[in-house]
């Protein structure tokens, strides 16, 4: 079967599984969301007939407790596919709407952080490989490893201690200040950037290490390959060797690392956005957990998963553009 078709099917399977997991969690866990919602509604409205309570449960969780399980499942899938993720019990708003408003902010902060990390890793890794064994190489490699042993939330705490508490250079929370008119004007853009700087930094300084080292070791390996020697013997210009022979072959594993990073980042947004009180997807997801707002919780998990699956699928499909071998058939997932 064609690689691309296979790959898309695989993503589809993942999505189905994710929806099934959320459904299972909403329904099957003893004392889980459905019972919880029911008990809560009954407590709030002691005189309400149970049918009406069931209807409200359905509005919130998307599941009617008394139907046979497969009907519940089908209903759940249909409503999820229609973008109906239920209603938040904490914010009293449709879950989909809450996240729709939050997604761009998360994408902005973490997407930018990821691109910067990617850019740093590639150039730094290539530089280190070129100067392998030099003092610069060992110094930067050591720093990279040490930074990599720092969890990003630890980095976030340290950054807050330094830049917010001690130096007072950055605001602690939120995505914009009050009283700044949103729109395409300089004060607003500067304000948004100021709020996003520290969250981005904590991802970048703890994340660049792994990928820089991957790029470094990879470039070193490529530099030792025969075809590079042949290219040198053929007296090809250095720039051409560097760009077309070394860089292109060395970037591949970084690119897969990039793919894995996507998953990490959407998950990581939960902790980061909680620490910085940055209202993105992770922030609402976390609030849902603390408020035991099950619809918001499940919706958050679904949205984060869908985002990751889409991103990873796109990355995998474009992999073939960078590495012609990937699309050539065979077991291409080997490239992972």
């Amino acid at each position: 079967m064609n690689y691309y078709v296979k790959r898309v099917i695989r993503s589809f399977v993942t999505l189905v599984l994710v929806i099934t997991i959320t459904f299972g969690l909403t329904r099957l866990m003893p004392g889980g969301p459905v019972d919880y919602m029911r008990a809560k509604l009954r407590k709030q409205n002691p005189n309400m007939p149970s049918e009406q309570i069931d209807q409200m449960v359905q509005a919130y969780v998307g599941v009617k407790p008394d139907e046979p399980i497969y009907v519940q499942y089908l209903n759940y899938v249909t409503s999820v596919l229609q973008g109906d993720l239920g209603e938040s019990t904490y914010y009293n708003e449709p879950v989909a709407q809450i996240y729709a408003e939050a997604i761009p902010w998360t994408l902005f902060v973490l997407g930018t952080a990821m691109l910067v990390t990617f850019a740093i890793s590639i150039s730094l890794g290539a530089l280190l490989a070129y100067k392998e064994g030099s003092r610069l190489d060992s110094a930067v490699s050591t720093v990279a490893i040490v930074m990599n042993s720092v969890p990003y939330y630890v980095a976030a705490i340290i950054l807050i201690a330094i830049f917010v508490t001690n130096l007072g250079m950055y605001p602690l929370s939120g995505r914009t200040s009050l009283g700044v008119t949103p729109g395409f004007n300089l004060p607003f853009i500067v304000d948004v950037l100021r709020h996003a700087t520290l969250p981005m930094l904590s991802v970048i300084i703890t994340g660049f290490g792994v990928q820089t080292l991957a790029m470094r070791s990879n470039s070193i390996r490529v530099l030792g390959e025969d075809y590079i020697r042949v290219a040198r013997l053929r007296m090809l210009p250095t720039s051409r060797i560097a760009n077309q022979y070394v860089a292109r072959n060395a970037i591949l594993p970084i690119y897969t690392g990039f793919v894995i990073q996507i998953g990490f980042i959407f998950g990581g947004s939960i902790i980061l956005e909680d620490i910085f009180q940055y209202p993105g997807v992770g922030y609402y997801f976390f609030n849902a957990i603390t408020a035991r707002d099950y619809p918001l919780m499940m919706g958050g998990f679904l949205i984060i998963s869908v985002a990751v699956v889409i991103a990873v699928t796109i990355a995998d499909l474009t992999y073939g553009l960078i590495d012609p071998r990937a699309g050539a058939g065979g077991d291409s997932s080997e490239a992972y």
Partner: protein
């Protein structure tokens, strides 16, 4: 199997050779006992260990981990468990005094808290790493060796597990399940960490299964189970070990995060809980209280660094190519 027959037939060409002189006749002069084999294996492992030990990164990682194990076993026994009467609320660190690292908002000695949290953290690390590496190794080895339909099914599963974002899933399951046993927490936070291990081991198995001796076993009709156990898994041990160490690091990262977020129910002391308490008490916004957040932070970073060093040092044993370069083989 010793050549006992005195009057062995001479060779077909009429030559008269004492059969005992033909090396092919006697399989081995001495019988290899089980004990010999174990001794040889042990020597092999010891040599591997020495090779790894010659790398300073392995040494550093090993010593750090050993230190944590000491703290978690002997230390717990030496240092009294923290109580509310260790000192006053927020005693500053007095590095050679009563409370070397200071006390927290409940007057508990921070050093004692850190040490008494260690056993649970190590249990968590072990539980999670054993779970992730065990399942990962099983899936990776079986799927790499068997190929075909089994491989396809197992790899679809693995890829699915890789794609589902781990942390949100862990948080949801943790919030509903609320595990308190450290081993179960370790397993919870490695809920899909096995997938990466499975992938990397599988690709290694794919090359090993083509080796001559594996093929020989296969032709001789050795059962698949034996081949997997005796021919393939020993080759993978170093790589499995590296994966084990890295999953342990993942467990620490994630479990501390969960406790810091306050998602899991708290029983006993824990580095993540210490972080959370200090953070919520304003340790980050008031310079006098920095130390309450600093020591748990440093502990976590140290353990994590130690684990990375350990895995990098082991990498030298795993990766023959790297080993050659270190031994001065290829000086590129």
């Amino acid at each position: 199997m010793k050549p006992t027959d005195e009057d062995r037939n001479p060779m077909a060409d009429g030559g008269d050779i004492n059969a005992a002189e033909i090396p092919l006749e006697s399989v081995s002069v001495e019988d290899v006992t089980r004990r010999d084999r174990i001794a040889k294996d042990l020597r092999g492992h010891w040599e591997t260990f020495l090779l790894a030990w010659s790398d300073w990164r392995f040494k550093a990682g090993f010593l750090i981990l050993f230190g944590f194990v000491l703290a978690g076993t002997v230390g717990v026994w030496l240092v009294e468990s923290p109580t509310y009467q260790d000192g006053n609320k927020w005693d500053s660190p007095s590095y050679f005094g009563e409370n070397p690292l200071g006390t927290d908002q409940f007057g508990q000695d921070i050093a004692a808290l850190l040490i008494h949290a260690t056993p649970d953290m190590l249990l968590m690390l072990m539980g999670g790493a054993v779970f992730a590496t065990g399942i990962g190794a099983f899936v990776g080895i079986v799927s790499g060796y068997k190929g075909g339909r089994a491989d396809e099914i197992l790899m679809t599963l693995t890829d699915t597990a890789i794609m589902i974002p781990g942390l949100p899933l862990i948080i949801i399951v943790g919030a509903i399940w609320e595990p308190t046993s450290p081993i179960l927490v370790g397993i919870l936070v490695s809920i899909n960490a096995w997938a990466g291990t499975a992938r990397s081991l599988r690709s290694q198995v794919l090359t090993i299964r083509e080796e001559a001796y594996v093929e020989a076993s296969r032709i001789m009709g050795v059962s698949t189970g034996s081949i997997l156990r005796k021919d393939i898994t020993p080759q993978l041990l170093p790589l499995i070990l590296v994966n084990f160490v890295m999953s342990g690091r993942g467990v620490i990262f994630n479990s501390v995060a969960l406790y810091f977020l306050g998602v899991l129910p708290v029983e006993g002391v824990n580095w993540g809980v210490m972080l959370e308490k200090a953070y919520n008490a304003g340790a980050v916004t008031s310079p006098q209280l920095y130390y309450t957040v600093l020591w748990p932070l440093l502990t976590i970073v140290l353990l994590s660094w130690g684990l990375i060093m350990l895995s990098q040092g082991l990498d030298r044993v795993v990766n023959v190519r790297v080993r050659d370069r270190h031994e001065g083989g290829e000086a590129k």
